[in-house]
């Protein structure tokens, strides 16, 4: 787990990685039935930035995260990554939703890690990580053996998250922490500009949380843009450049961890922290 820049990858080296992954969320609204879960949210995350989104459950954190890779369609507003619209295309004076094929292509730039891991249970750890690269490398005609190349990369990624020796194990043979680390390796497999984490440690036993957070901590220094929804306050304070506090579908306040944790301006933020922060800082 020493370095996060893998030598054998054929894509651009580390320096240029810092200049990609600029996320711009503009006035996004989203309703489920009669309830509006996002009420005009705007947020900017610079390339290589680490934004942690906090807030009570039902505040729209996860929904916001899922709009960034178009798993959730917005009702209005838009999201761009490095200036390119996500899920839509401007034609005339309308934003037309992209065809599924093009959306899938956009998603290869955005890795996502889920609360419940969502590893493919019938595939081994290695096959889970190699699945997306196999598809991607197949389209590169210069490669003669896409499957072998994908497996080689997958093994490097598993090594990065410290699970090289468990490459042949099926997800159910792994602990929760190990499964989530495989899921992170899988999200990294396409060398994404942005990584989205949806409560990555919420389904884990307390003693397994840190092995996952350690991996994310290392990623935070790698130049990839990270957007993390979590309830781990201590971790958020450690790792974030920007802390965003959401409640009832709106961003209540955002700022550096220092500002938000020690001097929250809004009373809503203060009352939330007074309820959750005590136990978290004992770690």
């Amino acid at each position: 787990m020493s370095t996060f820049v893998s030598e054998s990858t054929t894509t651009a080296p580390a320096p240029s990685a810092a200049s990609r992954g600029h996320v711009e969320i503009t006035n996004v609204r989203k309703s489920f039935g009669a309830t509006e879960v996002l009420k005009g949210v705007s947020l900017t995350v610079p390339p290589g930035g680490v934004a942690v989104i906090l807030g009570p459950s039902g505040s729209g954190k996860s929904t916001l995260l899922r709009t960034i890779n178009h798993l959730e369609k917005v009702d209005s507003g838009y999201i761009t990554i490095d200036g390119q619209l996500v899920g839509y295309q401007l034609r005339g004076n309308k934003l037309h939703e992209l065809r599924e094929k093009d959306i899938l292509k956009q998603r290869t730039d955005i890795g996502m890690v889920f609360q419940n891991f969502n590893l493919f249970p019938h595939l081994t750890a290695l096959e889970n990580v190699a699945e997306a690269p196999v598809v991607a490398l197949r389209s590169e005609k210069s490669l003669r053996k896409p499957k072998e190349e994908a497996r080689k990369r997958a093994l490097e990624l598993l090594d990065r998250v410290g699970l090289k020796d468990r490459a042949g194990a099926y997800p159910r043979q792994l602990s929760g922490g190990q499964q989530q680390r495989v899921a992170i390796a899988r999200a990294l497999a396409l060398n994404p500009k942005i990584l989205l984490f949806d409560e990555p440690t919420s389904a884990l036993d307390p003693e397994l949380v840190n092995e996952v957070l350690d991996v994310i901590r290392e990623l935070a220094t790698s130049g990839t843009t990270l957007i993390i929804v979590t309830h781990e306050m201590g971790f958020a304070r450690d790792v974030a450049d920007t802390v965003v506090f959401m409640d009832e579908g709106q961003i209540v306040e955002q700022g550096s961890p220092q500002d938000i944790f020690t001097n929250p301006r809004e009373p809503r933020t203060r009352s939330f922290f007074s309820k959750v922060i005590e136990p978290a800082f004992n770690i």
């Binding site: 890779n69 798993l71 599924e100 094929k101 899938l104 292509k105 956009q106 998603r107 290869t108 955005i110 890795g111 996502m112 889920f114 419940n116 969502n118 590893l119 493919f120 249970p121 019938h122 595939l123 081994t124 699945e131 997306a132 598809v135 991607a136 099926y170 997800p171 159910r172 043979q173 899988r186 999200a187 497999a189 396409l190």
Partner: protein
């Protein structure tokens, strides 16, 4: 199993020091001592008994033994009557079991099963996808198909297909609402007994397998689709590589039920005088009047086919349970090998 002495270590230090006498294992005072209620002796001494010297004796199950003996006696009686009652006419069964006409009928039965089973599941897969689509028309058509073919008797369906010539004299391919015809044929020449049988069985099978496949697809967690979509895996690969292999676990047991049902279900095409196994046997016993032995011939063949299919089912299910269980249980063959291996070791000692 009880070859090694099993003892319980009492972790609490014994203060009263009641000595553990190995002979008193089943005596009641030991049980009375462990109960919290004081029975005359000093109550504080009760939990301090040391049980480490006692041997553990598993509970006896006399009812199980009685049941086993009764069932064994019943089985023996059935087997005895099968073997000794001359009216079963086992000689006749043996004589006809591999007769050419019976074997030909068997081949026809297998042919019908294979063709209508395969076509039925392919069509059923299409119907399941239609039912899961978001187009109301596709959903409606798929639903109606299943509704019609599940609510009419197979017998009626078969007779209807066979008599299609009565409803439509000619079948033609052309441009609708014009007189242009590329191809025209008499219905009765197109729909042979075989075609009617395959049509009837296939369409009926498709209606049932559509629901089985749909159930299997629905059993796969939505998160799997989301994860695949988030990784940018294309739709076709998502279904074949991620969803179907997991759906198979739910599909296979019921699907094999259906196929086994279909093997015997083909016997219904005797109404079309189609010479599959059951019709062949009927023809023979109408001539020889040996009804029961010949029905036994057909039955035994159905048993053989079902047994072979069951073995296939076991191994195919095992293949798809990779990753679903932490460790795959041993197959019967592996168990047998291990059994003989360990016993061989014991004998050599």
């Amino acid at each position: 199993m009880s070859s090694t002495a099993t003892t319980v270590a009492q972790s609490a230090p014994s203060t009263a020091g009641r000595p553990a006498s190995a002979g008193a294992a089943d005596s009641s005072p030991a049980g009375a001592d462990s109960s919290p209620e004081p029975t005359g002796e000093a109550p504080t001494e009760a939990p301090a008994v040391d049980y480490s010297g006692y041997k553990l004796v598993p509970a006896k199950h006399p009812g199980r033994w009685v049941g086993t003996v009764l069932v064994a006696l019943g089985l023996a009686a059935v087997l005895w009557s099968l073997a000794t009652n001359p009216r079963w006419e086992w000689g006749v069964v043996a004589q006809w079991f591999t007769a050419q006409s019976v074997v030909n009928g068997l081949i026809e039965t297998l042919k019908l099963t294979a063709i209508s089973g395969a076509l039925g599941f392919v069509l059923g897969f299409g119907l399941a996808l239609m039912r899961l689509s978001s187009s109301p028309l596709l959903v409606g058509v798929s639903w109606t198909f299943s509704w019609i073919f599940r609510s009419t008797p197979l017998l009626v369906q078969l007779l209807l297909w066979y008599n299609l010539g009565y409803l439509y004299e000619k079948i033609s391919l052309g441009i609708p609402f014009t007189d242009v015809r590329f191809f025209e044929v008499q219905t009765t020449t197109l729909i042979s007994q075989f075609a009617a049988a395959v049509l009837g069985l296939t369409l009926n099978q498709a209606a049932y397998s559509a629901e089985i496949i749909r159930g299997g697809i629905l059993s796969v967690d939505q998160g799997q689709l989301e994860a695949a979509a988030a990784l940018g895996i294309p739709a076709w690969r998502r279904s074949t590589r991620i969803v179907l292999p997991q759906a198979m676990r739910a599909i296979l047991p019921t699907a094999f039920n259906e196929i086994i049902g279909l093997v015997k279900g083909t016997s219904i095409v005797y109404v079309l005088a189609y010479s599959e196994l059951f019709y062949t046997v009927q023809v023979i016993y109408n001539r020889t009047q040996q009804v029961l032995p010949l029905l036994l011939v057909a039955t035994l063949w159905y048993v053989v086919i079902t047994s072979v299919l069951s073995v296939f089912q076991y191994y195919i299910e095992r293949h798809y349970s990779k990753g679903a269980v932490r460790n795959l249980p041993l197959t019967p063959l592996q168990k047998a090998r291990r059994f003989f291996a360990t016993h061989a070791v014991k004998e050599s000692r």
